[in-house]
């Protein structure tokens, strides 16, 4: 894998700053995983390694916002996330692609220790993240869910936030992409409004959430510890993270039991879970089309006035 020369130079300079002495990029190894960006392991001299994501057509601020999210999670000292080494948006001339250089979690080492309490550790650490109060429902800046823009303007209540900053904008995007008709847009918006009435019963305050907690975003690091990547952070209701762990599989009952022991879920979660996951189902309808719009219709239909 060959990186643009301009990018290699920048990475060597940043890596040198981190190491405190000059290093050179010896080679790169392609890394699988992820649909949006290209990624590679960077192997520098002096045994320094780093993980690189890059994308010449990334939306402006995408890597910056991912770095912000990782730093926000790291600051809680609850969950392991890769350290952010450096990032840049795509240069205006287009000559240097946007990138994010992260700590290498050494996940590809097949001989890494397998901790018998890995699943419990993940559950406990997520519960610890969700125990820290945040100031409001929203976030200091907008970001992305995958490559889809995600607005985070603060709203007075959680129900308002989830309707106006999550479901409505996603329904509008589906309309804008031509995936749904004008009539479907109106119908879906009305159902979304009815659905989010159920969120008025939420009495828990905002906490920092990962925001995109599917199985592909949980890694086992070189020492066998769980680590989270690719966040879409905001201050929300903790149940959004739990709901997403149930959407596409990959999380064990031991993970869940450990979370609930530390921080039991409240009555009404199964219903709210459907509303929270509707956001991701709509995003999948936008990205992949297919039966995801039918699934969204079924969920929306349950909440028709």
């Amino acid at each position: 894998m060959i990186l643009p020369a301009s990018l290699s130079e920048i990475l060597e300079k940043h890596a040198g700053d981190i190491c405190g002495h000059k290093v050179e990029l010896k080679h790169t190894e392609p890394v699988s995983g992820g649909c949006i960006n290209q990624s590679a392991l960077l192997v520098f001299t002096h045994d320094f390694t780093a993980f690189l994501k890059w994308n010449p057509s990334a939306p402006p601020t995408m890597f910056q916002r991912e770095a912000d999210g990782l730093n926000a999670l790291a600051a809680t000292q609850t969950l392991r996330v890769p350290r952010v080494f450096s990032w840049s948006d795509t240069s205006e001339s287009g000559s240097t692609p946007g990138f994010l250089m992260l700590e290498d979690l050494a996940t590809t080492d097949g001989n890494s220790t397998i901790r018998s309490d890995y699943d419990e550790e993940l559950g406990k650490e997520l519960a610890a993240l969700h125990a820290l109060p945040a100031p409001y429902f929203g976030f200091p800046h907008d970001n992305f869910i995958g490559s889809t823009p995600q607005p985070n303007h603060p709203r007075e209540t959680w129900a308002e936030f989830f309707l106006q900053q999550r479901l409505h904008p996603m329904i509008q995007r589906l309309r804008g992409s031509g995936k749904i008709s004008a009539d479907q847009t109106i119908w879906a918006s009305q159902c979304a409004e009815a659905a989010t009435q159920h969120l008025r019963e939420v009495t828990e305050g905002p906490v920092l959430v990962h925001g995109d907690l599917w199985a592909g975003n949980v890694m086992r690091d070189g020492s066998g510890r769980p680590a989270l990547i690719d966040p879409a952070c905001y201050y929300g209701h903790r149940e959004v993270d739990l709901a997403m762990t149930e959407l596409f599989g990959g999380f064990s009952s031991r993970f869940r039991a450990a979370y609930e022991t530390a921080h039991p879920l409240k009555d009404g979660y199964p219903l709210r879970k459907e509303i929270y996951n509707l956001y991701h189902v709509l995003n999948h309808a936008l990205l992949f089309g297919g039966s995801y719009w039918s699934q969204a219709e079924s969920i929306l239909n349950r909440f028709r006035d």
Copy 2:
């Protein structure tokens, strides 16, 4: 979106052959969806449109095998699939990327008819596909599940086929990529062997299966009819397609009821479903890492001797 000039010329020639007169490529529109290839809607003169997938680094035969699978499904006259217009593997010089030009299903028309019986239609059509006997467990050629090679060598029994052509090769790939250790490989192989003993109870004969039936591979065409794309076809047990519809969501209970009315599932399906979906969970562990390996471990652990 700009295509390589060499590719545009080839596409114009093939489109001309299909239309029976000369056409020119007016413009292309990027289409979202899919993690592996780039895709676009091709708009030619004379109102001829087509859907294009291309990938300069596609494995040899990938597009050819996808075309074969679509043609095999089309030949059954049970399910709608896009007509294959033309395809090519990446040229040896690398100057022309591999591509697949398909009928435009007009899925992006948000005003397309919404049939009230869409879900039932999909269920009935899949049952009709699964009612046609196939000659053996296997397929005339290997193909791909996503971008992962998928061997299809015929085996005497379904249990042997699923162990030797599905689970074992995927476990070996995980080992080859360094995602699991030598000890984990041996353990997983033993569990897989124990698991596939349960497939000896299958008495149904082979049928053509889609092979990659997740929600992103089901489209609604311009007339509101379901259509399937991206197959990973082989002659297998029909339950593999049903199992996958349950893995990542997106299929309604109405779809399922319509299928089961036409072609009821046999006792023991819930257990076999876990074994069939293990194949896709292992592939996700290979592609995305993360908690998918943990999920695979949990499933494998149930079948330990």
